[in-house]
Homo-oligomer: 444 residues x 2
């Protein structure tokens, strides 16, 4: 009897525990989103040996998305390394930030309902989500890299779309005589010229390098649109507008603490930023322009309307989630900029160590600088190495590197000389490791 009562009591205690577990302390049961969430988590668990990723929309092999292996890795699980493979240091694919987001999985994930924002219109004017605009302004304020007060914001499909939208907008605003002349200082990011020539508009023409327009009579008779990239792509140097009285487009894609010291908030009339070099989400195609003048803003808005009717609202939703996650730990230890700076400084330092072992190659000179964001002096950590072949015989530096198993981007692509090659340092760790190995072999 006593035994049976004991069993009975234990039974009731267990029952109570199960009740409380299920009804009180348990997390609420998910409904319609559970299937998608479970799918995403299952795919995140697909093993790619640390040298690749599987994505929900990957190619299906054996009924599930297959691993997409990093350069020089193969096999279904990316476990095989091809040692005689060329190190790829070409594109500005910002995968160095991928580990940051893997570490912040819970705060950066977003669930998009099937009926999410189907409409053309959203909360703000001109296809802009107000909450995202607000977070972008908060971000600039927190980082101290740009003045947003008194600026309009336009969203675009990456800085790519905005670069030419602004050429067009600056050309047609203020009733200036057309075509406007578009210029940049060598070495410069190739699309400035490429877009202006390809779109072949009556409103703007590519007219070569900025230096030729200094003290030139040409400048006074034409409207000149000057691209100013700071830090510069490819060489990472801080630059300023050269032509007085020109309309400048300040491309600040790399003006984040990952890559350079933040010395003062940028305060120009037209500034462009992109999430590609901020959060590392190049594939999302999202960037924004800060514009002071209302007529230039209106002309840019019209361009966006005619071109794509604004930036994808799906992407705007994801960006908001990413920026919220970033802002939640900004200025704390291990925030995205501390992570980015640490990674990039280490890569730059290692590349310098290898290159300095001989006099065959040299890299651009960069110095430590006080950074207002980190409140301390910081080492250089540029996005690219601007490598020079020092030997006279190595006329085509790109060919020299390719022969050594490294594909970079020739200086000629930046309208610079053949003696230079841009080496991307912002790709995956695998890409960087391979670059370093091949570089070490070339130097020795």
């Amino acid at each position: 009897m006593a035994e049976s009562q004991l069993i009975q009591k234990i039974g009731f205690v267990l029952l109570l525990w199960f009740f409380s577990y299920n009804l009180v302390s348990a997390k609420p049961e998910l409904g319609w989103s559970r299937k998608a969430a479970a799918e995403a988590e299952a795919i995140a668990l697909i093993y790619c040996s640390g040298h690749g990723q599987a994505y929900i929309d990957g190619n299906i092999v054996d009924g599930r998305p297959s691993c997409e292996c990093n350069t020089c890795y193969g096999a279904p699980d990316c476990s095989i390394f091809f040692s005689n493979c060329t190190a790829n240091a070409e594109s500005g694919d910002p995968l160095f930030l991928e580990p940051y987001w893997e570490e912040h999985a819970a705060s950066s994930a977003v669930v998009v309902a099937g009926w999410h924002r189907m409409s053309y219109s959203t909360t703000g004017e001109n296809y802009i989500t107000i909450e995202l605009e607000r977070h972008i302004r908060m971000l600039h304020f927190a980082v101290g890299n740009a003045v947003t007060d008194g600026r309009f914001i336009v969203f675009g499909a990456g800085s790519t779309q905005l670069l030419y939208a602004l050429v067009h907008a600056l050309a047609i605003s203020h009733n200036s005589s057309l075509p406007a002349s578009v210029v940049a200082s060598v070495p410069y990011y190739a699309p400035y010229r490429g877009q202006t020539e390809f779109f072949d508009s009556k409103v703007a023409e590519w007219r070569g390098v900025t230096s030729e327009w200094v003290n030139s009579s040409k400048a006074s008779s034409n409207k000149v649109i000057e691209f100013v990239t700071s830090p510069n792509n490819p060489d990472g140097l801080i630059t300023q507008s050269v032509l007085n009285g020109s309309s400048s487009i300040h491309d600040h894609a790399y003006y984040w603490p990952h890559f350079t010291a933040i010395t003062a908030p940028a305060d120009e009339d037209v500034m462009i930023f992109t999430t590609s070099k901020l959060t590392g989400h190049a594939g999302s195609r999202f960037g924004w322009a800060l514009i002071k003048d209302e007529s230039v803003y209106n002309a840019t808005v019209t361009y966006m309307e005619m071109n794509t009717m604004g930036a994808s609202r799906d992407t705007q939703l994801r960006m908001l989630k990413l920026y919220k996650a970033m802002l939640a730990e900004i200025q704390r230890e291990g925030d995205i900029f501390a992570f980015g700076y640490k990674t990039m400084r280490e890569r730059w330092s290692k590349l310098n160590q290898v290159v300095s072992r001989s006099k065959r190659f040299s890299l651009q000179k960069m110095t430590s600088q006080y950074c207002n964001y980190f409140n301390t002096t910081r080492d250089p950590s540029p996005a690219y190495g601007w490598l020079k072949c020092e030997r006279e015989v190595d006329r085509d530096c790109d060919a020299v590197l390719r022969a050594g198993g490294i594909s970079g981007r020739s200086g000629t692509i930046f309208s610079g000389d053949q003696k230079h090659v841009r080496l991307s340092l912002i790709k995956s760790q695998d890409d960087f490791d391979q670059l370093l190995t091949k570089m070490a072999a070339l130097v020795s």
Copy 2:
């Protein structure tokens, strides 16, 4: 004793049930995606009285996203109807499909991990996800509305981006003399002209209406690019290319069973489709072109590269999920086309009933037709009413409607006449109901 044994037994049975519920039949516990999933579900539960929606990236009021009310509804929960408010039948905002996606919440939701496809590159060439391309081809095959064999596919930010990309591509391919002449048949979708004039390129010029080029000597000396929209926007009529030997861009945005009978797969050299009028996701900015000629394809790809470096990969992921959900029940009762057709047919029928009560207005004549997709004769269900003011005194039909509390889109916007106004039938049910009410008052 018997009683105590009974309680004991009941206790054990309950215990067993709880064990099995928790350990066997219970769904696996979610990890990093749970927070985002719970957030999305909580926001979906925000009550907006059936006259609005709350979204994750909505404006924050009292700590949570606020309801975004449909036209003519207000208050924090959208419960107040403003009866003297103007019915808005202007834009082609395809919200008539919103209820379909709400009913398919589980199959259409997508979870985007923070590290999802950060790279520029994806599984296919030219920024295209192969799985999405494959599903688009499956969709065309299942619906029977376009031949995709032997066609290249290019993705764009809505058909908007592709329309002009193809003008540019057709103009510069095949080494033809420039500028090419761009034309369309009245009434036509305004951006054809708007884009060509605004982008103001040396490669293509707007040269007016197609009919002026028939039997004209102009046609032989110039490359002519003819826009052919079928079903036509605004009037829903089936159209064909008029000029022999021209390069045609066939805009098939509305060639889906929602809006028209599928009589044969479209088989032109250049065809454009958009998700906006297929799934109703206008805000996602996603469309595609089917292109037969490789040089035209290559020129289009270059345009996309220069303009935006492809369509957002985030959006491509979401589209894949939506298309999979659509395809999973295609040709079954209640599939998206049955839903879309039912809704649009009913709206068209109701509008006709109201309009036919007087001779003041008329609508375009549409007939029933055999549809290969539904395997039966189907009634008309166009996306827009192309309303005509029949009375001589009603010269400006748009003004007449506005005086009656209806804002449509004047025929002049489509380079048509003032006697016509386009009334959008594809917006939300609230929008349609208001249109009908105001129309009934106008007619009586």
